[in-house]
Amino acid sequence: MATNSDSNVNKAVNVSELIAKNKKKKSINNYMEKLVPTILFLLASITVLTTIGILYTLISEAVHFFMEVPILDFFTGTELKPLSQNPEFGILPLLNGTIISSLIAILVAGPIGLMSAIFLSEYASDKVRRIIKPLLEILAGIPTIVYGFFAFTFVTPLIRTFWPQLEATNILSPGLVMGIMIIPMIASLSEDAMTSVPNGIREGSLAMGTTKLETTVKVVIPAAFSGIIASFVLAISRAIGETMIVTIASGSSKNFSFDITESMQTMTAFIVEVSGGEAPAGSTLHYSLYAVALTLFVFTMIMNLLAKYVSRKFREEY
């Protein structure tokens, strides 16, 4: 008995002693505990610092440009002739190309993407959804250079067979192909928004004698509206920033026109062309690159802020 209880007591003492000993060793761990958040913070600030750095470069270089070309001329000029005897630097032709191509893209992707989302979230069985959704997302994984080639060598010739006025490089087919490219983005994000609408709301509507379609249109889509709009805005901003497709399939005419059969240049394609080597460093043309890039940056930033604002404004709480 006595030895037994003794050994018990000894054991307990041993464990607490061991823990106390180990605690002393843990001082390194304690040090890490304080260090790790600092390391994480530094890593996280890399993104922010990079953004600030890029913005600084863009602005400081663009200032050179605006010292030579008045800011008003830049934003209201309809002529972009950087290499002529009397060079003109109006951004409107580029803005026009960007807006038209993005508009065509969203006209294609909006309806198709939204319909796909409705099908996937409201009508498709689990099995069908599990097959179709990854397939849709493959579309998003195709490199844009492939899309560009597809637009130039397949879509344009195809449309020309029944619409011969279409030029070999034009803004229509890259617009259409960009639309196809952003379908998965709209479909996938809108589907997420609609799937997260609670089932109780659907049941509440169906229990009042409405059809599935009525429930989808009158209850589910309004409830998911903020998410759907956000997906549209993000998709547009993706189309605005898209470079390869328009560079390949729309040519490089700095054309201020609303005729979609003509070749036009977007802001992104202009940057590709100029940074391709034509511009001597320090020339106005060289600096114009930064002015255009800054405009593009502001443009996409506005779209992203708009997406955030819209999704907050139209959120239906549930």
Partner: protein, 277 residues
């Protein structure tokens, strides 16, 4: 979806005739369930249910979790079909018409039979839009008429005084009990004959529960009410008749007073005295 449910349905013409004949003087039978069996894929959830629900009465269905009471009430407006792989046999005659028959349009049935759910489920819209949702979808567009419907329905659900000054606010800003009464108002707005309630107070606090119970007693005058409840005291307080279900079967069905004071079946007695469940 309705096709899978209908596969096993047998049409019972004889039964349809008897219900329509028996309405002279006697209280009218609204729902007449005969030999109802229901399967979720392989699970036999409802076994040989035979029940009659009478007009302008509150019929309570009690029983432990998983006894099939929710499944049964959802069969009465065929919401049970939203679960894939549901199959039924037998008949449920609603006012003499077999609702499990292919010729029955669920949209018509659900316009006459409203439902209130366990968790308040208002639409993420204003209180006004919640109530006008049903009438609008069924083709009522006149503003003055809709205003009238909103007031009458909200009064009917005993919540008019609480919300009349904020009809254009989102229904989600209300408390759980208020939301549930807005859901009842939404249901009243299309003037159904029957209201099915699937544990309508289980997500509510005691005071809201009391309000909803008062409301049910009031609604009984105009509507036939079938209520599933976990709460035996609630069944005793508000219902005229009570059904006790166990493992998918109806164990006992009688006047509420009798079932609670003098149960015929040993299992009913064990359940209501708290020996299990």
């Amino acid at each position: 979806m309705s096709i899978t449910t209908q596969k096993k349905v047998q049409i019972d013409v004889k039964n349809n005739d008897t219900t329509t004949e028996s309405k002279t003087e006697q209280p009218r039978v609204v729902y007449d369930t005969k030999d109802l069996n229901l399967w979720y894929s392989e699970t036999h959830a409802l076994k040989d249910i035979n029940l009659e629900v009478t007009e302008n009465e509150v019929t309570a269905i009690i029983g432990p979790s998983g006894c099939g009471k929710s499944t049964y009430i959802k069969t009465l407006n065929r919401m049970v079909e939203l679960v894939p792989g549901v199959g039924t046999t037998g008949t449920i005659a609603y006012k003499g018409k077999n609702i499990l028959d292919n010729s029955m349009k669920v949209e018509d049935l659900r316009t006459q039979v409203g439902m209130v759910f366990q968790k308040p489920n208002p639409f993420p819209k204003s209180i006004y839009e919640n109530v006008t949702y049903g009438p609008k979808i069924h083709g009522i567009k006149k503003k003055s008429l809709l205003d009238e419907i909103v007031e009458n329905s909200l009064r009917g659900a005993a919540i008019w005084d609480e919300v009349k000054d904020r009809l254009n606010q989102n229904a989600y800003g209300l408390s759980g009990g208020q939301q549930q009464r807005v859901c009842i108002a939404r249901c009243l707005a299309i003037e159904p004959d029957v209201i099915l309630m699937d544990e309508p107070t289980s997500a509510l606090d005691p005071i809201s529960t009391l309000k909803v119970e008062e409301l049910i007693k009031e609604l009984k005058k105009k509507y036939t009410i079938i209520i599933v409840t976990h709460n035996m005291q609630q069944a005793a307080r508000i219902s005229d008749k009570t059904v006790f279900m166990l493992n998918g079967e109806v164990v006992e069905f009688s006047e509420t007073d009798q079932l609670f004071s003098n149960p015929k079946d040993k299992r009913t007695e064990d359940y209501i005295t708290g020996r299990f469940g």
